[in-house]
């Protein structure tokens, strides 16, 4: 499948599960888009471990070092799955899984090269030597436990944006 087609399917399926995929054309536009979507956020956490994360600029006054105190987080995720519109986070390289869990707003940075067409394709690449924790995230945290009424944002984030770079 052509890369552009894969990106299109991924973004379409991610929208269906209430995530907000945004296409970033060129990494120099990344900070403009982040400024825009994080405009109302007061405390932002970014691990700054990968090259992509290191290129993220967040003002000193709202950047927090402790994840527990952040209302939003920006981090690179390891993969996107076009079939389900999911993003994948992993504990490999000492990454904190709670980055995509504790804040109410999770901004995922996804390199377009890491989008896989199907679940099978992703697992083939992963092999059998899995990191301690691999988590697929498909949209925001949700529940339907009260009268099957869909409520977004239970314990995890109520908003998930995916910047496809």
């Amino acid at each position: 499948m052509r890369n552009e087609e894969l990106i299109r399917i991924f973004m379409e399926n991610a929208s269906k599960v209430a995530a907000k995929p945004i296409r970033v054309e060129g990494s120099n536009k990344l900070n403009d888009i982040l400024d825009e979507i994080l405009a109302n956020e007061t405390s932002v956490y970014c691990p700054a471990k990968t090259e992509l994360e290191k290129s993220v600029i967040i003002d000193v006054e709202r950047r927090v070092e402790a994840l527990e105190n952040a209302t939003s987080s920006v981090e690179e995720v390891v993969a996107g799955i076009a079939e389900t519109g999911s993003i994948v986070v992993s504990s490999a390289n000492g990454r904190a899984l709670q980055t995509s869990l504790l804040p109410t707003y999770h901004v995922a940075l996804l390199s377009a090269d890491n989008i896989f067409a199907s679940l099978d394709e992703f697992f083939k690449i992963m092999g059998n030597d899995l990191p301690t924790n691999v988590t697929f995230i498909t949209g925001p945290s949700r529940t339907a436990d009260i009268e099957l009424t869909l409520t977004i944002g239970v314990h995890g984030p109520e908003k998930v944006s995916i910047l496809v770079i």
């Binding site: 000492g94 697929f136 529940t143 239970v154």
Partner: protein, 454 residues
């Protein structure tokens, strides 16, 4: 009609009471209808039958070698630093879990939803021993503060209306009354966040475990499952042996079938694959992982004539289409697992002698078997267990006598005619002898169909 623990399953009385509860009837109608529609939409336009067939064959081969997969899993999970325990009975599992908690000095425990821990009545045991146990799935949290048991394996509090939940929160949590699900959810979110961050230990279930990687897999939506498996320093997984998958490559099939069948989702919000113990990134990370694999009679079921029940992946699709479950809800079954899969599994786990009244909870329409994503022959199993009930003499005596009588009459035209003629006269008497059975039957007509032609 005794169940272990001395409570009796009086299914017919329970069902009659449930039918007289309009709030419950409304809730069940709404829930099962919504779930049915969502599931039907979710399987539209995908090769569902093909996947079902594959999953059925896969699950068959797993149950045929279940203890082999348990062994392989134990070896691989141990290599990854998890401590694997096997529990033959529910009591063994409770003792093991209690010992692990005590060894680690844990007092407060957060739980994510687990039907296996319901099966072994873990919460009551831990509470009796002085542990503080908090359920963190919203539905489980609601029924925990209400002092109830789950009425559905996926949405445990589905029997309650939002007004009832609002009232409950108001009384037990001291918050202002609201019947807005979003407000109620937010109340629970705020209260539970502190619990996640301060708990000494976590207990979760697992939707499946992977033999060749030693991983356990959790499908969740709220995020509480991720909180409990990554925040407290100790994590205990409690799952049952039949939930094996041979290889990680088998997981995509389950990922495609389970959420679609359970809630009509393409995939749950979160799916976590946990392989062994993780190195802590900070002070608030999980450091020790224990896995308790419960047998509780499953090895024996796997060797017996009803082994196909163990193919079940616990999605709840069968209860959402069951006309009996849809009318009465889960509590009438008075057992951990309700609905068609629950009737069969409870009978197999607790014994025919204890659970046979549940075998009345079917119309034998077969909708359950059609909905099952792994082709458990639910209808066939229900038939066979009902035959076994008659063979063992657990059915109602009067029903047995009348069915035998009918059998004789139906084979002989003379007796049949006489019987038909006298039925009208004898009906009031039969009504006194067996009011429940007789009231369900249509009254005999004066002029029979046969007589119109003779």
């Amino acid at each position: 009609m005794k169940k272990p623990g001395g409570q009796s399953i009086n299914f017919r009385d329970n069902a009659r009471q449930a039918l007289q509860n309009p709030t419950l009837r409304r809730a069940m109608r709404h829930a099962t209808e919504t779930f049915r529609n969502k599931r039907n939409d979710a399987i539209d336009g995908i090769p569902f039958e093909e996947w079902r067939e594959q999953a059925s064959e896969l699950r068959k081969s797993i149950i045929g070698n279940i203890n082999g997969y348990v062994d392989e899993f134990a070896v691989n999970a141990t290599k990854r630093g998890a401590i694997v325990h096997r529990a033959k009975t529910a009591a063994d599992a409770r003792d093991l879990i209690t010992a692990i908690l005590k060894d680690n000095g844990a007092k407060s425990i957060v739980k994510s939803k687990s039907m296996v821990t319901e099966e072994i009545h873990l919460n009551k045991c831990l509470a009796d021993l002085g542990f503080r146990v908090i359920e963190t799935d919203l539905g489980e949290y609601i029924i925990q503060i209400a002092g109830e048991t789950p009425s559905h394996i996926i949405v445990p509090a589905i029997h309650r209306s939002k007004e009832q939940i609002g009232q409950l929160f108001c009384e037990k949590l001291g918050c202002d009354f609201s019947d807005d699900p979003a407000v109620l959810t937010d109340t629970a979110r705020k209260l539970l966040r502190q619990e996640f961050l301060s708990a000494d230990a976590a207990i979760s279930g697992a939707n499946c475990y992977i033999a060749n990687t030693g991983s356990i897999v959790l499908f969740t939506n709220e995020g509480n499952g991720r909180m409990v498996t990554t925040l407290p320093p100790l994590h205990i997984v409690v799952t049952s042996i039949e939930k094996a998958l041979p290889s990680i490559d088998d997981l995509p099939l389950l990922m495609r079938l389970l959420p679609r069948s359970a809630t009509g989702q393409v995939l749950t919000s979160y799916l976590s694959i946990i392989s062994g113990q993780r190195m802590a990134y900070s002070t608030m990370d999980t450091k020790r992982l224990h896995i308790v694999l419960l047998d509780n009679g499953r090895s024996e079921i796997a060797r017996g004539p009803y082994w196909e029940m163990l193919k079940c992946i616990k999605c709840g699709a069968c209860m959402n289409v069951c006309p009996v479950y849809g009318m009465i809800g889960g509590h009438a079954y008075a057992s951990t697992y309700p609905g068609p899969m629950g009737v069969i599994l409870s009978t197999l786990l607790n014994g025919l002698e204890n659970a046979h009244p549940l075998l009345d909870a079917t119309t034998l329409c077969g909708a359950c078997a059609e909905a099952c994503p792994v082709k458990v022959p639910l209808l066939k199993l229900l038939y066979e267990l009902r035959e076994m009930r008659v063979a063992k003499g657990y059915n109602n005596t009067l029903e047995g006598v009348s069915m035998r009588g009918f059998g004789i009459a139906a084979k002989n035209a003379h007796i049949f005619r006489t019987g038909q003629a006298s039925a009208g006269a004898l009906w009031p008497l039969a009504g006194i002898l067996s009011p429940v059975t007789v009231n369900r039957l249509p009254k005999p007509v004066k002029r029979t169909f046969r007589r119109r032609f003779s």
